[in-house]
């Protein structure tokens, strides 16, 4: 690349999100596959911004989202899986449950309107806006050990989402038994008629977003997926932007 081309570190409104690393480096297209043009987009819903952070490629992230607040996740580089777990902030024994979510919704995919339920069937969050056809909650998380099954023992040294989850969960006193089946924002896992399923090319793109509203105070753990052996990241791990917006007055008409 030409050394002089500036890296854009603000969104269209001129807003510059916080990033734990140098944002100019994190957003520099030269660090990603050819043709990557990061798009920071912005919140998918109206409301005062209470938190705005960029998660570097391959890193974990967490935050508490208060009841009524909305978390927008921006797929900054396109087709970047954001593996995600939710817990009741008050009692992390209550956590996201794939089977409760899909048994209640009657559908294996997650879309706008899907209520993300806990292992007690309570509503943890509701998807309020979504810019891709469907989101995955069947495919689970990658990990060092499971990579050896999927791709071979030569991948054992690679980083995985399970490692990100364990590292981030440890900050809250949680461990391996607290890591359960998860959501994968921006990952595409079709289930065919005979039950065949798998991760295929993504249906997202730079700047695409999903937003969900917390129905109780929730702890959100995210692994910005580091996988390099399947198309869940387009073989090109890129950053995510996480924006929490304040609760809006709900209509009671």
């Amino acid at each position: 690349m030409t050394a002089t081309s500036p890296v854009v570190v603000t969104d269209a409104t001129g807003r510059r999100p916080y990033c734990p690393a140098d944002l100019a480096v994190v957003l520099n297209p030269a660090n990603y596959a050819d043709g990557t043009v990061p798009d920071l987009a912005g919140p998918l819903v109206a409301g005062e911004i209470v938190l705005d952070e960029v998660v570097p490629a391959r890193a974990p992230w967490s935050a508490v989202v208060r009841a009524g607040q909305v978390l927008t996740i921006v797929d900054v580089g396109g087709n970047q899986s954001a593996d995600c777990l939710l817990y009741s902030a008050e009692d992390t024994g209550e956590r996201y449950s794939v089977p409760d979510t899909i048994s209640r919704s009657g559908n294996a995919y997650v879309r706008t309107g899907t209520v993300l339920r806990s292992n007690y069937t309570n509503a943890l969050a509701t998807v309020v806006a979504n810019e891709i056809d469907r989101q995955d909650t069947i495919g689970g998380a990658c990990g060092k050990e499971s990579n050896t099954l999927r791709y071979g023992h030569h991948t054992m040294a690679e980083h995985g989402c399970r490692e990100n989850f364990l590292a981030e969960a440890a900050k809250y006193g949680m461990g391996a038994r607290d890591i359960v089946s998860n959501l994968n924002w921006f990952m595409n896992v079709p289930i065919e008629a005979d039950g065949t399923l798998g991760i295929v090319d993504g249906i997202s793109g730079p700047g695409k977003r999903v937003a969900f509203r917390a129905e109780m105070d929730i702890l959100v753990l995210v692994s910005n997926c580091p996988q390099m052996n399947n198309p869940c990241n387009d073989f090109n791990p890129t950053p995510l932007r996480m924006i929490i917006t304040a609760a809006q007055e709900r209509s009671h008409a």
Binding site: S97, V98, S103, N107, G140, E145, S146, I179, N182, L197
Partner: protein, 282 residues
């Protein structure tokens, strides 16, 4: 009107002891059989002396057992109305447990059937499905919860008429020192679910009475089983039926066995599993 107490003489310790002891030898439709070799319902072709577990689980009941690596487990749906919700843990390190996402993703198959490895999150096989003439199994919907059963049937308690799977799992887990945090998504046998093209779930019900599923324990296992109505069974009433469980000493999957190298992913999972077992001296 005669009460139950009227049939018992229990006014002294001696009388109470005699009354309790007089119950010996009674038989009910749901009970364990001990020693296991004494089962009135021996699985076909299994030498009685090899049996380590023989039990009939009540409709709406639960059971649990610690089993050695190489045990073979047979679950039989006596009436066509059982639904065996199952959780598996490595008995030596129980934070290693069934991981449903890996179990469907790694073999590239959402529907459980013969040959399917039941995987932990540690890249190992906890158990292999080695026989299944039901084909009506489910890895998507998990089990029922208190909230769901109260809404559906008006009650969810273990002592009530429509126990939820999660509440029974809490009890079964507690008997092995495990807590509600240790209950990940579970799988179930004898009630089927299929996914339509739009992602919609379709309940395919039972394959009928007398169907059986057999698993081989690839590690020392804590096995928890809740026999409760499937969470998306659309019938208005709570329907459950007797579940028969047997286990016997057999061998884990190894070189030369049918499933050892039938699929690349599972083969590497068996390599990881036997590597773990060898290192631990199992």
């Amino acid at each position: 009107m005669a009460t139950v107490s009227a049939r018992h003489e229990t006014d002294t310790v001696g009388a109470a002891r005699a009354d309790a002891r007089a119950q010996a030898g009674r038989v009910t439709e749901a009970m364990p059989y001990l020693p296991a070799s004494s089962t009135p319902f021996p699985p076909p072709g299994v030498e009685a002396g090899l049996l380590v577990w023989a039990e009939t689980v009540a409709a709406g009941g639960y059971t649990h057992k610690v089993l050695a690596r190489g045990s073979r487990i047979r679950l039989e749906d006596m009436t066509g109305e059982a639904c065996a919700h199952v959780l598996l843990y490595n008995a030596l390190e129980p934070w290693e447990r069934l991981n449903v996402a890996d179990t469907v993703k790694i073999p590239w198959q959402a529907y459980l059937g013969t040959g399917h490895p039941l995987l932990s999150g540690e890249g190992r096989v906890l158990a292999t499905i080695v026989a299944d003439d039901s084909g009506r199994n489910d890895a998507l919907c998990g089990t029922s919860t208190a909230a769901a059963n109260r809404a559906r049937y008006g009650d969810s308690a273990p002592q009530g008429p429509s126990p939820s799977g999660r509440e029974l799992f809490i009890l079964a887990a507690a008997k092995h020192g495990l807590t509600p945090r240790d209950l990940p998504p579970s799988i179930s046998f004898f009630k089927g679910v299929r996914v339509r093209a739009d992602g919609g779930l379709e309940f395919t019900g039972s394959a009928g009475p007398g169907r059986a599923v057999e698993l081989v324990a690839e590690l020392p296992l804590i096995v928890l089983i809740a026999n409760v109505a499937h969470p998306i069974d659309p019938r208005p009433g709570y329907v459950s039926g007797l579940l028969r469980v047997h286990a016997w000493r057999s061998a884990p999957t190894g070189p030369g066995d049918r499933y050892w190298d039938a699929a690349l992913e599972a083969h590497r999972a068996y390599l990881n599993t036997t590597g773990y077992a060898d290192a631990r001296g199992l």
